[in-house]
Assembly symmetry: C2
């Protein structure tokens, strides 16, 4: 678990607030689903590694076998349950954000925590959802990340329909899962290893070379269309996916202030979840920290819970991990100002009521104001104040009588009359 | 568990933000402790009913017996662990706030939820902590509640040292736990029932009458001192508690805009936790909804974890329950404005880029702006917009070309030119 000191927490909270503000400015509505869900809801979607990582919950009094509750491991499964349960009271397309903690009993490793914040935004349609929303989610998350004042980003997008159309075109659709997995990991291993993995699938050498050419296909829409034509000739099998990619690419490129967008067929995003657009975001000069946000389109959010079809598109910022890696790379602005504006130091209890009055005047102007009632030496009080605040104000009998206060800048030591 | 629709959630979020802002303005530093704690940490302090209500946590792969983790049931126990763990990096007195969810497997009942928000503020000293901080915590929580725009409040304060001094004075200190419990419940039962319960403790009738007189002692400091003298004569056994009460009472009364403060010896706040000041806050005309905030002084926060002494004082707003009861009593301002300011309605994909440009201009001014890319009829889009937003803006080819937009007020139907 991550646990921060107050100064680090203030930076974390500020970043979380910035994400929340941008999501709000994009018109997303906030909801909070419970952290504890019925385990059957969570297990219906989990599968594989995730299932092993789920935290089960039981009351002390009960035996563990009776445990039918668990901690959510992401926001998506509770969202699916929420949509099915409340869909009559929601306005579709439903633009929704969830910012909160999720839980996975992962093996402890650098930057991975068992309790972690995810900041999700999703747009859910009823029956259908136009592809322009895919661009909207990506643009929104991009704008949220831009508030972090990070080095240059680029956004790599792909489309799962292009991948599956391509595999059909080269007659390898029956090995789609294995091939997807190899492409998904290609960036982290030498090319020869990916090639060897493909060869182990008993593909022809022509198929292997085409897959390798495919996974290194990236660039603008015009570029990838030309490259794909070179590889498979007739584009009919990938046409639907290409049209979607083109629309998303064009919309994103039309937005002023967008970072580089490239289409990149190496982007896969896991195996069985996404059905159309997929994207990942990277810091250009910090590829080693991996994707800082990702997401995509899923054709049916609530297939496990409902006969109604709820197509959606979403993206997520894994804030706990992101905070950790940005901190490690010294990419966080840790020079944020002290969390408290003024610490007021009454010299004796005779000045308490003046100190309180002064504090409330400063608070009414939006300042964070602490009063130190402690009876230690003034020097000790100044030391404490310097750790948390910008200014200190001593309130003695003279100041209380005259109402003229001096604010001492705790960074420079400079003292100036306080104007209220 | 409570789960809110987006419009209710927006009200809840707003109240949470108001509390957080006031805590911040009072100079409290925010921290977040993990939701999952080692169960030995939690069980060290729980005891009684609370222990039975703790949610144990285990990974699916593990047997339940190995479960050594649990969900926090309040913020105080994790805070104690945090202080002991990080005390070398904290500035004391440490003013700290925690706003987050806690978990208790309580029997389901109206307004009680198993997953609930608590908004705590605490001030922790090292070795000692002046009594003025007790007033500060109460004033801070009072100001936070004032932002809710509620009917008149009053704050009832007492001091556990007065209670124990009084019980010593009338020679009933050996039955302190039972008597405290009877006083604690006296408000909810007829007087004769409290009297009968006291008589069952084999007290003399003089002792019984003195306890009853004590528990109905309330008013200003001068008033309660006079009444207490009538009951027990010599005030020496209660002097320390009275001095503390007087200081807290005087400071609170000196603050402009404070609600009624009364000293009231019927306020007990449970049995084994608090050691000095205790307080509860009520809505004068809605006593039936119970206390809306409470807290007090504890002489040693971390006695279970450390040899160092960390005296503290804290208060808490149980926001989930408070939201529920205020909503039920129609005391919430549910007329909050729509969460979205503008919904932009492009008539075709040819206007998408104009719509996005317009949206970003409005967002840059702090507005929440949604773009509806859906391909349903315009009437349906207006219906959706009216559910979430204040204004709708249609973007057709004319508007896109001229840059002249009309904003339709979705409440009144009125249309006005949009000034950007």
């Amino acid at each position: 678990m991550q646990e921060l000191l107050p100064t680090e927490q203030a930076i974390f909270d500020q970043l979380k607030q910035q994400i929340s503000d941008v999501y709000h400015h994009y018109g997303f509505l906030n909801i909070e689903t419970p952290i504890i869900e019925r385990s059957e809801v969570l297990l219906a979607k989990a599968g594989g590694d995730t299932e092993k990582q789920i935290y089960m919950v039981s009351k002390t009094a009960e035996s563990a076998d009776s445990a039918d509750q668990a901690l959510r491991f992401d926001h998506t499964v509770p969202l699916a349950r929420y949509i099915v349960e409340h869909n009559n009271n929601l306005a579709f397309p439903f633009q929704v954000t969830q910012i909160g903690r999720n839980f996975r009993g992962e093996r402890a490793q650098r930057g991975r925590f068992r309790e972690f914040y995810q900041c999700d935004c999703d747009i859910i349609g009823r029956e259908k959802l136009p592809i322009a929303y895919d661009a909207k989610v990506i643009a929104c998350i991009h704008d949220a990340l831009k508030t972090f004042d990070l080095p240059e980003m680029n956004i790599r997008i792909s489309n799962r329909k292009v991948l599956s159309g391509f595999l059909t075109a080269i007659k390898t659709a029956d090995k789609a899962a294995e091939i997807s997995n190899i492409i998904d990991h290609a960036e982290k291993v030498p090319l020869e290893k990916s090639r060897a993995a493909l060869e182990e699938l008993r593909l022809t050498s022509d198929q292997v070379e085409k897959i390798i050419a495919f996974m290194f296909t990236n660039g603008s829409y015009a570029e990838i269309e030309a490259k794909l034509t070179e590889i498979i000739g007739d584009l009919t099998p990938v046409r639907e996916g290409l049209n979607e990619l083109e629309e998303v690419f064009d919309i994103l490129n039309s937005i002023e202030g967008m970072s580089d967008i490239i289409i990149d067929f190496m982007i896969i995003r896991g195996l069985d979840y996404y059905t159309g657009t997929v994207y990942e975001t990277f810091l250009k000069d910090y590829r080693e920290i991996g994707s800082i946000s990702s997401g995509g389109r899923y054709e049916n959010l609530a297939g496990n819970f409902s006969d109604q079809k709820f197509p959606g598109v979403g993206g997520s910022i894994g804030l706990t991990r992101l905070f950790y890696v940005l901190n490690e790379q010294k990419l966080l602005n840790t020079e944020t100002s002290a969390p408290v504006d003024y610490v007021i130091l009454p010299l004796s209890s005779a000045e308490y009521s003046s100190a309180i009055k002064l504090a409330n005047q400063l608070r009414a102007k939006g300042n964070a104001v602490d009063i130190d009632f402690d009876d230690r030496k003034l020097g000790n009080k100044f030391n404490r104040a310097a750790k948390i605040a910008k200014y200190a104000i001593v309130v003695g009998s003279d100041e209380a009588a005259s109402g003229n206060y001096q604010a001492k800048d705790l960074a420079t030591g400079e003292t100036k009359p306080l104007a209220i």
